[in-house]
């Protein structure tokens, strides 16, 4: 909600920027009123038969209901949630419901972005109404077909669990039986949706549709794609960002068993072999000289000092303002300041980057674990010089996305190699390449200042952010895939070039400031400023984007205020949430469930945080213990969540739990550091992930709601760092202003 008000929401911004950046294309797009969209006949396979009322679902003669999921299933359980929405209105028999991930088609675009893109926790939010209508449309056709078959009024027939029932006549027909006749009827334009009070699937804890495939090893991830004659390549990227290949000697690599080619591609040097093992062994034998000229001059250890200097001297861009903080400061009884630092972060998806492509006979086929089908299609079309109708993108299961797979660098590599070799090629990165060639969550430096009244309430709040901006870098990379399909190659490329020069200027701060303002708290004078300083390390969208940074900063500093004013952190928050009853309720629920105010178990201490991530409200209490050596353990976390109507509460709870674990890795364990333009970490020994013996028990309590559903894939991440660090303060009196927590800081005398 915060960012929406500011007009800086990531999705809206991307959409607007994409069109704005497209320049010429914009006018054409508007004049044409959008783009041609395919109907059910084109998107469903011809041989499938059955009822295909729309592009979202198909009812087969075998009673199976197949739901097309226009988002990537990467663990967030979107497939089950979207299928539930369809099945609810269809009155389907849940046991007969299947899903398939939609191919790249304009009809499956995410309206928030104008692209087929799984990001921003938008999947359920954007499909809830369309999928309900799609299900209802099919239900009405099936009822009409039954009524016609029996010669009775439709009003006397009722759909229920995969059948249409005529109670008065004591008869019923199954959806499979009705499908052929229903398919002959025109799909109704007007549909009547169910009263949410009568939902029988939505709101229930239903198991994942993909659990069995994943528990038996049958789920096909990108890395598991297999084709006849498939070659495997691995890519060696420049060790430092900005470097280019100068010269190389492939002789020794080529002499290795199974190795077919060593090829220079745009992103580096590829070794092509029969198998990945052969390719990766041979890659170690390459003799490569990299050009030093373009190497970025970045040493991440030096960034906080550099940014502190800029904060004191450079001109800042105003991102948000309320009231007059300077004037208010004069009336304050006391003031406090704090500087907060956050490092670059890697996605560390368990499945390394990979993609399979086959360029042949004027077509390009792509199998990719990607969050961004349109960008994958655009990359392939651009490289091959093909129209979109000649590029097929098949989305596999995805071994972790977290935003990394919004970028499609690995797709471009596979397509380039398949084109060069005239054979199907699977590109597989080693873990080391994956760790060192990400699009990282930006590092940032934050200067906070608060001025308090007699009661310890903040009269004025100032927040200055210094660092790179994820959107300023990402928009130019992705713009050409967000231009409508029919725009020819020339203007499309021009849009990309234009946005490369415009976005860094205009988008600056729109990413970095997300989640920092407006504040959910009643503070009358607020100012958020930004100084862009980008050392050139590739940055991108990381689960919950800058909310992961700004929630830490805001909620920690609020805790500092409470401590300075001698107030209980819960009490101060509730006091400041008078105008925000939804968040207040969430904070109260989390506190109550955690036993805030009661004495915690021996050796444990509690910390509190709350955050609003795109209208999903989360309150969080962490219980921590700190050993004499400064080791922080987090045995228990309690969350309260208001995400509107929870389509599948079980899925909501596990996503919040997962977000907490993801955020804890960044709070306690891992960071990306850069020296001389090179990422120092390489694998899980130096970028460790939270393990089972370190994982808390996470309790999730949902606020009952009938408001439209919001997103839950990211909302768990932002709250955990401040909740833990506030608990560490309660335990030790030490304020953590830099994460991951360094135990040495807690033992320092």
């Amino acid at each position: 909600m915060a960012a929406e008000k500011q007009g800086l929401s990531r999705r809206r911004f991307l959409k607007v920027s994409a069109l704005g950046g497209a320049g010429l294309a914009l006018g054409v797009y508007l004049a044409a009123g959008g783009e041609p969209v395919k109907g059910p006949v084109e998107v469903w396979p011809e041989a499938a038969g059955g009822l295909k009322p729309n592009t979202w679902l198909m009812v087969g003669g075998d009673e199976t209901v197949t739901v097309r999921v226009n988002h990537t299933e990467m663990g967030q359980d979107v497939a089950t949630a979207l299928a539930m929405i369809v099945a609810e209105e269809l009155e389907a028999d849940w046991a007969r419901v299947r899903f398939e991930i939609a191919p790249a088609e304009s009809v499956y675009k995410n309206p928030e972005f104008g692209a087929q893109l799984t990001a921003g926790s938008t999947s359920v939010r954007t499909t809830f109404e369309p999928l309900r209508r799609a299900g209802a449309q099919a239900r009405q056709m099936l009822v009409a077909a039954a009524a016609r078959a029996w010669g009775v009024p439709e009003a006397d027939c009722r759909a229920q669990k995969g059948r249409v029932v005529h109670a008065a006549g004591g008869r019923s027909l199954s959806y499979g039986q009705l499908a052929p006749e229903a398919a002959k009827l025109p799909p109704p334009d007007k549909v009547s949706l169910k009263d949410p009070a009568s939902f029988s699937l939505i709101g229930r804890d239903l198991p994942r549709l993909d659990a069995e495939a994943k528990a038996t090893g049958r789920a096909v991830f990108g890395l598991d794609v297999s084709l006849p004659g498939l070659l495997t390549a691995t890519v060696v990227h420049p060790p430092a960002f900005g470097q280019k290949l100068k010269r190389f000697d492939p002789a020794e690599a080529l002499a290795q068993p199974g190795v077919l080619r060593v090829l220079e591609i745009d992103s580096g040097l590829a070794v092509v072999a029969r198998t990945f093992w052969q390719a990766s062994q041979a890659a170690d034998k390459l003799k490569i000289e990299w050009d030093e000229a373009g190497r970025i001059d970045c040493d991440s250890e030096a960034l906080p000092r550099r940014w502190a200097g800029l904060a004191a001297s450079a001109e800042a861009k105003k991102l948000y303002g309320l009231g007059d903080p300077e004037e208010a400061a004069k009336r304050a009884r006391r003031s406090l300041r704090g500087a907060y630092e956050l490092p670059y972060q890697a996605h560390a998806t368990p499945e390394p980057m990979n993609c399979t492509a086959h360029v042949r006979a004027g077509r390009c086929l792509v199998w990719a674990p990607t969050q961004h089908q349109d960008a994958a299609q655009e990359a392939a079309a651009r490289i091959c010089g093909l129209g979109y109708d000649r590029v097929e993108v098949h989305t596999t299961y995805v071994g972790g996305g977290f935003g990394r797979r919004i970028q499609v660098d690995y797709v471009a590599e596979a397509v380039q190699l398949s084109q060069a070799l005239g054979a199907p090629v699977k590109v597989v990165w080693s873990r080391e390449e994956d760790t060192r060639h990400g699009f990282y969550r930006p590092a940032s430096y934050n200067l906070l200042e608060a001025h308090l009244d007699e009661a310890g309430r903040p009269l004025a709040w100032r927040h200055l952010i210094v660092g790179p901006d994820d959107k300023a870098q990402t928009i130019p990379r992705l713009v050409s895939s967000m231009v409508p399909y029919w725009v020819p190659r020339g203007p499309r490329n021009l849009a990309g070039r234009l946005s490369r020069s415009l976005a860094p200027r205009f988008a600056a701060g729109s990413g970095a400031g997300e989640g920092a303002a407006p504040l959910p708290y009643s503070i009358p004078n607020v100012r958020l400023d930004y100084i862009k300083d980008d050392p050139g390390v590739p940055v991108g969208f990381w689960r919950s984007v800058a909310h992961s940074q700004n929630a830490f900063v805001v909620e920690s500093f609020l805790d500092e205020i409470a401590a300075a004013a001698g107030r209980d952190p819960l009490d101060l928050r509730l006091d400041l949430l008078g105008q925000n009853p939804r968040l207040k309720r969430v904070v109260e629920l989390a506190a109550r469930q955690a036993g805030w105010g009661e004495k915690p178990p021996r050796g444990r201490h509690r910390g509190l945080a709350a955050h609003d991530f795109h209208d999903t409200l989360v309150g969080c209490v962490a219980e921590v213990s700190v050993s004499p050596k400064g080791e922080v353990k987090v045995p228990r976390v309690v969350c309260a969540v208001d995400c509107g109507l929870a389509v599948n509460p079980r899925g909501v709870r596990t996503q919040i739990q997962g977000g907490i674990i993801f955020g804890l890795t960044a709070t306690l364990k891992s960071a990306i550091s850069v020296r001389r333009g090179r990422v120092r970490e390489s694998n899980f020994h130096d970028f460790p992930l939270l393990r089972m013996d370190e994982a808390p028990l996470v309790e999730v309590h949902l606020v009952p709601s009938v408001s439209p559903p919001t997103g839950i894939g990211e909302a768990g991440v932002p709250v955990i760092a401040p909740a833990v660090c506030n608990a560490v303060f309660a335990a030790t009196g030490r304020r953590i202003r830099r994460i991951p927590i360094d135990p040495r800081e807690l033992t320092r005398a």
């Binding site: 659990a211 090893g217 890395l223 990945f276 368990p350 499945e351 089972m692």
Partner: protein, 154 residues
């Protein structure tokens, strides 16, 4: 040439004996349930059984597996394993699913040698298998559920 007994079937594969078992399974035998994630024995995604013991296939050579019974997620069977897989579904454990074969293989080896593990024993056995999605809570419950149903004393 190496002879490998995988999931009860004997295979003769033309491969450098120093090739990690992981890649023999995935690239020679087409058994892709065993996952590559770190390649250096840090994450457990590639866990398989060698004569019933959990091993990391990315740091086990084909030569080391020769003459032993190799079991992968595709071949995991028997009543305790079936109970475990059932518990996995009942607790709805997977998220992205990528680490899950490694988790299940590790858990199955644990239950085979210790049918009623304590919480601490579960933690000790499972903490080498990383899950970026954070399904640990569900994994604990699934193992506990499978152990409950084992009928063994303990």
């Amino acid at each position: 040439m190496i002879s490998l007994e995988v999931n009860g079937k004997l295979h003769r594969v033309e491969v450098d004996p120093q090739t990690p078992l992981l890649w023999v399974l995935r690239e020679q035998l087409g058994l892709c349930g065993t996952k590559y994630s770190c390649g250096v024995g840090e994450c457990g995604a590639c866990t398989v059984h060698l004569d019933g013991e959990a091993v990391l296939a990315c740091v086990t050579t084909a030569a080391e597996a020769e003459g032993k019974r190799v079991t992968t997620i595709e071949g995991l069977q028997g009543p305790p394993a079936e109970r475990l897989k059932q518990a996995w579904l009942e607790e709805d454990v997977p998220q992205c699913g990528y680490c899950q074969p490694g988790q299940i293989m590790t858990a199955a080896a644990l239950l085979a040698r210790n049918p009623r593990p304590t919480e601490a024993e579960i933690e000790a056995a499972m903490s080498g298998v990383l899950c970026r999605c954070g399904t640990y809570q569900q994994i604990r419950r699934a193992i506990g559920r499978a152990a409950q149903g084992s009928g063994h004393g303990g």
